[in-house]
Every structure is written in C-alpha cells, then in structure tokens.
Subunit: 226 residues, 2 copies
C-alpha cells in the first residue's frame, strides 16, 4: 500500500542535503517526548487533565496519532510525565520561597511556606490539580512525585518543630497541626480550582488576599497568645 508518497519529498539523489535545506518535516522529530509533554502541559492548562488526549498532543506536535506511544506506553504515562514536571516546578517554587525567609522566625517561615503553596496553586490551578488528585494516574508508579511530596511534608514538619521549640506554638501535637494546616491550604486551593469561589477570577488578587487572610487566621489559632 501507501500509494501516495507524500512524506518523502526528496527522492532524488543528494537526499540528505536537500532535506536539511528545504524539507519542512524531517522524519524524526528530534525531541518528541519533550514536545509531547509541553503540549500536554498546555492542554492541562487549557481544560484540565481530562482535556488531555494523546491524539491532540500528537496533533500539536505535528506527528501521527500513534507516534506518542513510542515514548509513553499509555495515556496515563503521559499524564504522569506531565504531573512530574508540574510537581518539579511546584517544589522549586516552595523551596525558593522558604530559602528567602529568615531562619530566626520559624512560624513566619511556616507562613511563607503556606503562602507560597497557596499562590502557586492559585496561579497554576490545573497543574496543581494534576499533581493533587490521585485518580488521574497511578501515584504508586510515580516515585518522583511521591518523594517530592514527602520532602515538602517533611519540610513542613521541620518548620513546625522549630516553631514549637521556639515556643511559638500553642499545641504540642505537631502531627495534628501539620495535617490541619495541609487540609486548610489544600482545601482553599481546591475550592478555588473546583469553582467554589465564583466571584473571583482564577488567581485574582482578591482571591490571593483572602488566601493570605485565611492562612493568618489559622496561624493565629495555632500560635501561643501574646
């Protein structure tokens, strides 16, 4: 079969030079994997994880529908790769914010951590969603995501422990405080994603101000009173 020899434009001699000089489509893409992840990241940003289809990613990469399966065994694997990329960025942002916070005030560092979390989640809602809800792919197979996440939790616990050591906390049950704090920021971020704040535009300034106020309310609640 294959009656129309469309792709092999240059069937003449000097094939290689011709291809380099004029052909718009080299047979091999170069870095299709990377391009597919970028396309899928864009799709996630546009319509959430459910809007990601292998075919659409292939389409945007200018490649046939079956090509992605050379790089990802399944759609889930593509989603997972996207999630790993998003998680990498999320963690980098959190750590950058924490690095800029003074070590002298552990509770203030905790606040910085929460703020960075909230801000990233609200500015990248679909990316946050993809690294959050585990129904979208198999988190057990995504070791990078799990370890990144565990590291962030450990960071939180350390910060809380330092705050307690400095006498800044009311409760001694750090585990409880940590879970409550996570639930608060996670809940706020997801309420934003899930459309529970219809008045605010996504990542609007008002939403971020409210996020900050809610975080402060919580921190005052766990802090030792002056």
């Amino acid at each position: 079969m294959r009656p129309s020899a469309k792709p092999s434009v240059a069937k003449s001699p000097t094939t290689k030079r011709r291809r380099r000089a004029s052909a718009p489509k080299p047979y091999h893409h170069g870095d299709l994997r990377r391009v597919l992840i970028d396309a899928a990241l864009q799709l996630v940003g546009e319509g959430g994880a459910e809007a990601v289809s292998v075919r659409e990613a292939a389409r945007r990469a200018g490649v046939s529908p079956g090509a992605p399966f050379r790089h990802f065994p399944s759609r889930d694997a593509l989603i997972q790769a996207v999630a790993e990329e998003a998680q990498r960025r999320f963690r980098a942002e959190i750590e950058a914010a924490l690095a800029a916070a003074p070590a002298s005030d552990p509770l203030g560092r905790f606040r910085c951590l929460g703020l960075a979390y909230l801000r990233w989640a609200m500015r990248n809602p679909t990316h946050f969603e993809i690294i959050s809800s585990r129904r979208l792919f198999d988190h057990d197979q995504a070791a990078a995501i799990s370890s990144d996440n565990a590291e962030l939790i450990a960071l939180t616990e350390q910060t809380l422990a330092q705050a307690f050591a400095a006498g800044q906390l009311r409760s001694a049950d750090l585990k409880q405080v940590q879970i409550a704090g996570r639930a608060l920021v996670y809940g706020f971020a997801r309420m934003n994603i899930d459309g529970h704040f219809p008045r605010w535009g996504v990542a609007g300034a008002e939403a971020e101000r409210t996020a900050e106020a809610v975080l402060d309310l919580f921190i005052e609640g766990i802090a030792k009173r002056s």
Copy 2:
C-alpha cells in the same frame, strides 16, 4: 433497510396478552430515568465520576445504548442528575445532624455541622466528589445543587453569627472564619478522596478520629480562650 425483522417476535394475533403473559421485556421500561440515575450512582460509587458511561448505565438497565438520551440530552446531564441526588442526601444528613444539636451552644452546633460534613464526605467519597468538583458538569445549570449549597453555607454563617453573639468567638470577621472552616473540612475530605492519606482505608475509623481532632484544633483556634 432493516432486512432482518428480529425484534418483532410476536407478530401473531393476541399480541398484547402474549406480552403480558410471557415476554420478559416490555417494550417500555416503566421508570428508566430513575433506574439510569441509580445505575450511574452505583458507577460513581465504584470508580468515580469518570467511570460513568451512558452505555454502561444503559447496559445495567437492560436497555439499548441510545435509550438514555430520551431522558438525558447528554452524558453531562446524567452526571448532573446523579449529583443532584447526592447533594440531596448530603444536605439531608447535615440538617439531621444539626437538628439533633442543642441550640444553647452555637459553637457546639458548628462543630456538629463540621463533623457531619466530614463523616458524610468520608463515607461517601465518590458522591462527595461529584457534588464538589465543578469540572464534572455545568454547575450553573444545576440550580438545585447551587441552592442546596447556598443554604448550607447560610446555615454555617448563621451558626457562626450565633456563636459570636454568645461571645464564643475570638475573631469578629465571620466571613473569614467561615471560609477558613469550609476550606479545612473541604480540604480534609478531598485529601481523603484524592488519596493523601494512604494508610487509612477510606472511611476508616482512624480517619474519622483524625478528622474530629483536626476540626477540634481549628475550633479551639477560633474560640475565645478561657
């Protein structure tokens, strides 16, 4: 077309009586809409909203793939009907719990409200998910869900206002407290759904105990200190 006249089994006279006496499948289902919603509710319970397909619901109802579209114009409409049913049950549970709480202790009522919320969400995770994340269908068209939700929020605000009037609250910014409280319970419920508590089985006793502890931590944080 239609060369094979398979379906018209009883082309003989006395068709009606024959059907009533022996036919296992009356042509008309009776209450297909209700059966479809139940089937879809079951599908949601088994694999989440994404696991719901119109065909599968039709299959379980013992009906052809196109039949559901007589009752629901689209898959989203079916999902929406399921969500309305779930929301109805959710609200009923919350209100029952609140009705059983004494009016003399508004902050205690607030706690009951939060507990009922958390318990229902953790015992019906997929149903909670379907009424929570607005990406699954168009909430603007589901007036029943929006109004139910608004009523629950109003109930929360009333309870908080009563608690403040009784001098039980530290902060006067009730709006902030209400949003923070919602974020906390919502976040906890969603973390459970989204698999952030891998050790606990869904709706395990430990999870519910932790939920209660976290709620109490929050309430202590907003309460006036003794």
